[in-house]
């Protein structure tokens, strides 16, 4: 498919990202760019090395070759701010919802006024004001995951990585939360990489979809999803995108 005009500045560049474990090649020379404020989905077949890909971006593993650049310089946890949302909610159980959201901001030693402003904005945007004094253990799993997502957006990160955050939730809740994440992303202008196995979800949220191949993973294709939000999953154009991507990775 043709490249579309996009004149937002480059935010993240992944250049020649390769990962080997011994002789086993898992990631094979991945190259792609993400523009500032872009919402990108990464999809691939089951077992394509998705976790390794993520671990290389988050620096849990060091890449064997190549690297991740943010604003033109190699990503550095001390200088750049990369936030993650994992599949399982990972809130701190001894802190209330508002303290959880404020936690990362306190570590960064932001002024208290700024912390309060950001926390309130997130609570407003997500409709979480009533539960701000509640502990995560008293919430449902989906509500807890929303707190984590709020916490990540509050950091105003250079890059926000989400690893299938809605994988275990029922479909109706998922669409609700996907709408919410789109709303947060638009309001706050964050740069988001959203990893999922669910093609319908990818087409529903992404501006652009990066399709990975089987292991060793390389980039099969990058695809712009040229549909306005909110999207309709029964729209023929939507189904066309969905079928197209499914054909690219279908193994089942």
């Amino acid at each position: 498919m043709a490249e579309f005009e996009d004149n937002r500045p480059l935010k993240v560049e992944v250049k020649g990202l390769t990962k080997r474990f011994g002789d086993l090649l898992v990631l094979d020379d991945l190259n792609f760019n993400i523009r500032k404020g872009e919402f990108v989905c990464v999809v691939g077949p089951t077992g394509c090395g998705k976790t390794t890909f993520l671990n290389c971006l988050t620096r849990i593993h060091m890449p064997s070759e190549g690297d991740l650049y943010i604003d033109g310089v190699p990503a550095d946890p001390r200088k750049h701010n990369i936030s993650f949302v994992f599949q399982e909610p990972s809130s701190l159980p001894w802190m209330t919802v508002e303290d959880n959201i404020a936690y990362g901001l306190k570590i960064k030693k932001l002024p208290q006024a700024e912390i309060d402003r950001r926390v309130n904005r997130i609570l407003d945007l997500m409709g979480l004001q009533e539960v701000r004094k509640v502990y995560p253990g008293e919430l449902s799993v989906s509500a807890e995951q929303r707190v984590i997502i709020g916490r990540s957006f509050a950091m105003e990160p250079d890059l926000l990585l989400m690893d299938e955050p809605y994988g275990q939730m029922d479909v109706k809740v998922r669409f609700y939360l996907e709408d919410e994440v789109i709303r947060l992303w638009r309001e706050l202008g964050s740069t988001v990489v959203f990893i999922t196995h669910n093609i319908e979800e990818a087409v529903y949220v992404a501006e652009r979809v990066i399709i990975l191949s089987n292991k060793p993973a390389h980039i099969k294709e990058e695809l712009k999803i040229d549909l306005p939000h909110p999207r309709n999953i029964a729209d023929p154009k939507f189904i066309e995108y969905r079928n197209y991507i499914t054909d690219k990775i279908k193994w089942w």
């Binding site: 449902s140 989906s142 029922d170 479909v171 196995h197 093609i199 979800e201 089942w252």
Partner: protein, 255 residues
């Protein structure tokens, strides 16, 4: 349709379940009634976390009910029903047993001789596509393969009714599609009555002869759908998407 001729295998009549605490109580299920027809693929679709597993445990006789009755082949059942098999979301495979030993477990409990046990177990291991993994331990298998073991284990005990409690809930979306096709293939090859619980509307529409839609807490029957779309169903066809939308609009949002 064939369904009209199907006889009632099981009747779930006015089941309620309330949990009592020291000074509070919580109703998980309220007056749930439906029939299970012989040989059908019945899906129970419920949002959120409320009541589904408890309902299944009551049907299987693993849990006490507060009110109501479970009628099986015309007789009221109390305690564990030996003709019911179960597949669990959390797998509950024994990590210390090989695939073969896991599949044999029910037959071992019933005192089936070893040679016969092996033969039956192997047949079902083949059926679910795990030939060659008989001597592997569960930790050596992928998520989809583990769930295949769970299915083979339930079948090997020769149940008349198979209850499946969100069996694909922990699998990724693609493995889930592949297992949905697998379970239909197995069901068509070895016809049993299946009661399949899920919170996934797409999965419910793809698999079920009928769907019983439950409400969020407390779980009540909201609506029962007969699905007339012939198999294999196309998940992006218009009639499928319409059905999905119709059920989705009628489903509670359980945030």
């Amino acid at each position: 349709m064939e369904q009209q001729q199907m006889t009632k295998k099981m009747e779930v009549k006015g089941i309620s379940k309330t949990f009592y605490n020291k000074n509070s109580y919580f109703t998980a299920i309220e007056n749930v009634s439906f029939d299970v027809k012989d040989g059908e693929f019945l899906v129970i679709l419920g949002p959120g976390r409320c009541g589904k597993t408890v309902l299944l445990n009551i049907i299987a006789g693993l849990e006490e009910k507060t009110e109501g009755a479970v009628i099986y082949n015309g007789k009221e059942i109390s305690g564990v029903n030996p003709e019911v098999g179960m597949v669990f979301q959390k797998l509950a495979l024994m990590p210390f047993k090989t695939v073969l030993q896991n599949v044999e477990l029910g037959m071992k409990f019933r005192g089936v001789p070893k040679a016969e046990r092996h033969e039956v177990a192997r047949r079902y291991i083949d059926l679910v596509g795990l030939k060659g993994f008989e001597n592997s331990y569960p930790t050596q298998l992928s998520g989809g393969m583990k769930q295949r073991v769970g299915i083979a284990r339930a079948y090997a005990n020769d149940p008349k009714v198979l209850i499946m409690d969100e069996p694909f809930g922990q699998l990724d979306a693609q493995t889930r599609y592949s297992m949905q096709n697998e379970i239909l293939r197995i069901w068509e090859q070895e016809k049993r009555t299946v009661v399949f619980v899920t919170n996934n509307i797409e999965e419910a529409c793809y698999l079920g002869d009928r769907i019983i839609l439950l409400s969020d807490c407390p779980a009540k029957v909201k609506e029962i759908y007969n699905i007339e779309i012939p198999r294999p169903r196309n998940m992006v066809s218009k009639e499928f998407m319409d059905l999905r939308a119709k059920i989705s609009d009628n489903t509670d949002l359980a945030i």
